[in-house]
Amino acid sequence: MSLPLGAFELTVERQQIPSRLVRMAAPTASVAFGLLVGAVIIWAAGQDPILAYTEMARKGFGGRLALTGTLVLATPLILTGLAAVVAFRMKIWNIGAEGQLILGAVASSGLGLWLGDRGIGGPVGIVLMLAAGAGAGALWAALAALPRAYLNTDEVISTLMLNFVALGIMNYLIFSSFSHWRDPSRATFPVGRFLDDSMFLHRFTGRLHIGLFIALAAAGVLWWGLRSTRWGFEVWVTGDSPRAALYSGMRVDRKILSVLMVSGAFAGLGGGIEVGGVLGNLDPRALSLGVGFAGIVVAALARLSPLGVIPVAILVASFTNARPGLQVLGIPSEIVTLLEGILFLCIVGGEWFLRNALRLQRRAAGPGPGPVEVETAPS
């Protein structure tokens, strides 16, 4: 593909390894472009974009309270991001992190309540509670993984559908039944029963709880697992060429099953941590906020790097954390969601510059020295 420009022509070539300059410049420029589009929209709506942006940065990161709030919001996002990373690495498109997180929250709160009733709290109870969350997430993912592995059923649609089934289960447990999860003393305004105090995750300062460090550890483990274990190598090979994997003797069906279940376990752990660290009960109003879908975008923006998920998730969480502050200023807080969407679209689009090189060359017909290579940053 080439575009003539006077004596020069602009050609597009595919590249395998982008230069360091482009690797830095592409996302930066994409973010800048997205913020610019957002600024135009805020301005068109009669608000001050500069004020909105400075306020968003301040409410996201300015001060201890803002920062810990952002980190608390980032915790489930890191885990759903990791869930997407491990599956997408093998080109298994798990878009069911939402539902796996919900089922994780259901199982964690269920077991947490049961253990609390029997006086088994503290570290042992908490570990069991979080393990139940991860396990439930894995099993929920298995509902899509088994047909995918053995019948080749499209996992995009099945994992997506399972989100809404999970949502239905959670709503049923709180709103439509007098289940183990529901607070029996609140008949008219249904809420989930609260865990015993001994089941809450340890808090440091403000709302910051130990869950963040569990999520960071999970990122480290996944990084190591994908990089340095046989399992990670096989994930990589299978993703690149399932046929090569099959002919070299790898059990591709089992790989699909294990990868989807590991993916579900990350998301389910996120649900458990939300229950034990933030909510204290099964709260459908708080657990249907799109963390699963956002996690997929986070993973894509982090280019499927387990460690890259961490900063991206924190950045996205800072946006969400800024919501209430903007509302106070009279700027509709929905602008945050809109801006998030625009930034996601721009950064995803900016990835093009990592896979393609623009070269400005003298036209072949003209005399002169050889091709002048100018690698350009995205517009």
Binding site: R14, D154, L162, S176, I296, V297, V348
Partner: protein, 315 residues
Amino acid sequence: MNDSVLLLSLASAIVIGTPILLAGLGEMMTEHSGVMNLGVEGMMLGGGVVGFWMSTQHPSMALALAVGGGVGALFALIHAYLAVTLRVNQIVSGLALVITGTGFAGFVGSSNDSALIYARPQSSLEPVFGEGMQELPLVGPLVFGHDWVVYLSWLLVAAAAFWLFRTRAGLAVRAVGEDPATADTVGISVGVTRYVYTMIGGAGAGMGGTYLMAEIFATYQHGITAGLGWIAFALVTFAGWRPWRALVAAYVFGALRNLGFTLQILGASVPSDVLNALPFVLTIVALIIISARPAAARKYSAPSALAVPYSREIR
């Protein structure tokens, strides 16, 4: 008595099934060209909110639908650019579009001096056929009791079925969705086809959202689609990428939305949470059954190149 309750709930299943059908039929066209747009819910909200705004400004529903459909198509254009031209992962782009459309609807709905939340459409639609025909037993409420948008959706189903499976142009679209390299070889422009059909899908979603807000609910609220866009996405799979099946499936899904209410009148109590999840359960079951039977899989499976970006250089 019970008969009429059943009949009324069937008739209202057709009403709530119509936005699902419009959006689902659009997404079906998109997917036949090999593009998967997960952003239906976002396009429905984003297109619908502008269509709804139009209905509060002008009494013409046709104008509102056109504006809503147009905005939906513009949202889809973003997806088409990312998916077709820049060849990014369509799942990621589609989900980003859901977030964008939801944020856009929320922002438009709550900003401005005249908040759309308090606005009402200037008019509502009347049934097309006269009283006499509406009072016919059975077919009266089911067939003759609707406004023109419902009949338009039936017409669109017939048109889509004819277009996709009985015309050369439809064959070309399906060729692009099944095997873009071959389609390219015989001179069909893969890029243009995918852009056009992605935008048709956005228009369907925008129209569905407009009809939902301007006619069915006659109001705008945050998140008013409440997952209907996702149901429309499921519809395409459940219907096996066939327009006529989509017509039936849309009303089955619509009926499930109303079933809780109907059953309550009839004395049975099934929680609405369970019923709301049923369309998704049915879709998973249908998907698994189809993939387990090779003969069915050949006939009712997704276009082979669905969600696969096309480039001449890389095969």
